[in-house]
Point group: C2
Chain length 401, copies 2
């Protein structure tokens, strides 16, 4: 395969986003808008920038969640800085923030203020808990949202403690739902000419990604349990492979809905003698002999690498996939050729990172660096507000930007 | 708090979605569009409907992923049925599908066909693996996407096997990214008048939600490991509470970035004597005594319920959240008052389900039932194509719809 050349999707060209987000839940929302071509301008504290830049030895965290944006420093605690951001709000299509409860209002940039300045603006917020929740004043971080949103209760081994899902459902998960909602509101504005106020709560968002638990609860009338495999489909789940490293496993799934999976698997592992054997032939029978069935399959998988096992099992017509770790994915050449992995450069730093996973007309989006602190202060204040470089230099000298 | 009255966001009023999706990855995408007010018409096989309705004893799975849509039955294998769907494609703004690789082309509804009929259409597909991936011909299901996309490798206990995250990142996660991309393309169409072809791969989408692993990899130059707690922040993670049920845990996080967390926690658990003690005073020192520190905290949490522990720990200024299960969330009255949980009715069935988690102008969206099979065949074919009830009755008699 040839290298796929990245092409900007350019869908949101001309859309201005005034971005006061920090850490991950808010920054991933505006990063998604930036992938689509919006002009996302991060407003950052001149003293160290947004919280995600600070208190860490390296910029990797900041880099991965702030691709394709511009950075403008403004001291929001200064009167002139605040006035400047209000002028920007008059020009913006979207305003976003994810400070702790009450903070944006204390800064003087609450919904009432901003929507009065610009009735066309989409004002979008991430909070940990929704208004009206008993926890609405509480701080939230990704793992806390995953605890209180039900995700942990359905993750982990049976008969062992709940676990935190590694993917950041509370942060990136929430960011994606808010980004979608912002575009819906922007689309509507073409007809109505009016802005809207949007609020996403991290707890509610985690429940959205976890709502399969309500299916199992409706079926059993009990709280959904942890199901490491695929429900009552036996065998399903992860099986150990050689050489036995921490991620040397293959996931496979013999589905109750497809009675061919089990005999296909038996044939593959050299146990044709058991095809049709009533001790194993129905999903219910295998469920009763779960440990025995799993061991039978494991005996075969342990003798193969996960790549080999995956190829053989899928080749036999049974769904399977290897458990890949971050390094294996990084070393998989096809992600680079397809433009799904690209190199993020940021000053002297660099790292591989995933690009927007949806292709437009076959092409991935090109990656632009996450901005250095204040990198675009002069440029963006010029473009948005018509300030001259001299104006900006004066503001800088006065400690406003 | 008063009950919050649901109000339709109505952002996509007038947008027609021709929906050929099945199971979860595709159906959640079009469900999101339906929450925003698009007219989503599911095209279903008259013989049992889409795959998510079949082979299961109850309709809960179908109900939760198909809210607010309409259902039209069409036999795509019949010439007249296929022609009917092509007529609908001429009227549609969005076309969506997530069949296995090659299926939609075999049906005669590939991108080339549909875009020639309607150059303004947004043609959106979910595939398991991207074009150009070594696995591009492979079938995919949520847990397989979570295995091959890296999510399992970063989920689970240290020194134990990888685990499948309970939230369906591979399915709903992919659906959300595609839904966002569809709206970006629709927005762009207002200017260009042209449609676009969108493809989301489940593997790539899982990597997007898991991309925090590339941060840890960049820092350590090794594959990201499973981190049940919050990195090197000790104590962090889940701690056992009484009465010791499967989800009686509290998640807490003492952050390296906030040196006040640890002394606050010591004070709370009655160990002020250790404040300032160099054996525990720095994150590095606590990391060396991790097991001892965790046990000290667990001894305190074990004597309290998770609700009590959460209230006390957050009250002391340390981030914390209880591990809630699906039943506890269902029984939490504020979700019902806030309209985040609503009751889905579907024929004689009903169940609690989560509604769209982003509020528009303070209101949640109202829930309409997932359609019964073919419930809207007459109505929707009338509205989209101007067919009379008699026309539709004739098509039905001929086995076309």
């Amino acid at each position: 395969m040839d290298q796929t050349t990245p092409v900007p999707p350019n869908c949101l060209a001309g859309i201005k986003v005034l971005d006061l987000t920090q850490f991950e839940a808010g920054t991933t929302c505006t990063e998604a808008l930036a992938w689509m071509g919006a002009d996302v301008v991060k407003i950052e504290n001149p003293d160290g920038g947004e919280a995600g830049r600070r208190g860490v030895a390296d910029p990797y965290y900041f880099m991965i969640y702030n691709a394709n944006k511009r950075s403008v420093t403004v001291d929001l605690k200064s009167e002139r800085g605040l006035a400047l951001v209000k002028e920007m709000a008059k020009k913006a299509d979207v305003f976003t923030e994810n400070f702790g409860p009450g903070t944006i209002e204390k800064l003087g940039l609450g919904y009432d203020v901003i929507s009065a300045l610009n009735p066309r603006i989409i004002y979008a917020q991430v909070k940990g808990f929704g208004e009206g929740s008993p926890y609405e004043k509480g701080l939230c971080f990704d793992p806390i949202a995953q605890a209180v949103g039900g995700a942990m209760s359905i993750t982990g081994e049976r008969d062992r403690p709940p676990q935190k899902p590694g993917p950041t459902i509370g942060d990136t998960g929430t960011g994606m739902l808010l980004a979608f909602s912002i575009l819906a509101a922007l689309y509507q504005r073409n007809t109505t000419g009016k802005g809207r106020q949007l609020q996403a709560a991290m707890q509610d968002s985690v429940m959205h990604y976890s709502r399969g638990m309500f299916i199992r609860q409706a079926q059993t009338k009990k709280a959904a349990q942890r199901q490491p495999g695929s429900g009552n489909n036996i065998p399903s789940g992860i099986f150990p492979c050689k050489p036995g490293g921490p991620n040397d496993y293959v996931y496979m799934l013999t589905s109750r809905a497809n009675p061919q999976h089990w005999p296909r698997l038996l044939k593959l592992i050299g146990r044709e003698d058991l095809i049709g054997d009533p001790r194993y032939d129905t999903p219910a029978a295998r469920l009763e002999r779960e440990a025995e069935v799993n061991e039978m399959v494991s005996e075969w998988t342990r003798q193969r690498s996960k790549e080999e096992a995956t190829a053989l099992i899928s080749g036999a017509g049974v769904p399977a996939g290897a458990v890949f770790d971050s390094m294996e994915l990084t070393n998989e050449e096809s992600f680079w050729k397809r433009g799904i992995l690209q190199t993020m450069h940021h000053g002297d730093w660099q790292m591989p990172m995933t690009t927007w996973p949806v292709r437009f007309d076959g092409a991935p989006a090109p990656l632009k660096p996450a901005p250095l602190l204040g990198e675009h202060t002069t440029e963006a204040l010029g473009e948005w507000l018509g300030l001259s470089p001299e104006d900006v230099a004066k503001l800088h000298k006065d400690g406003v930007v």
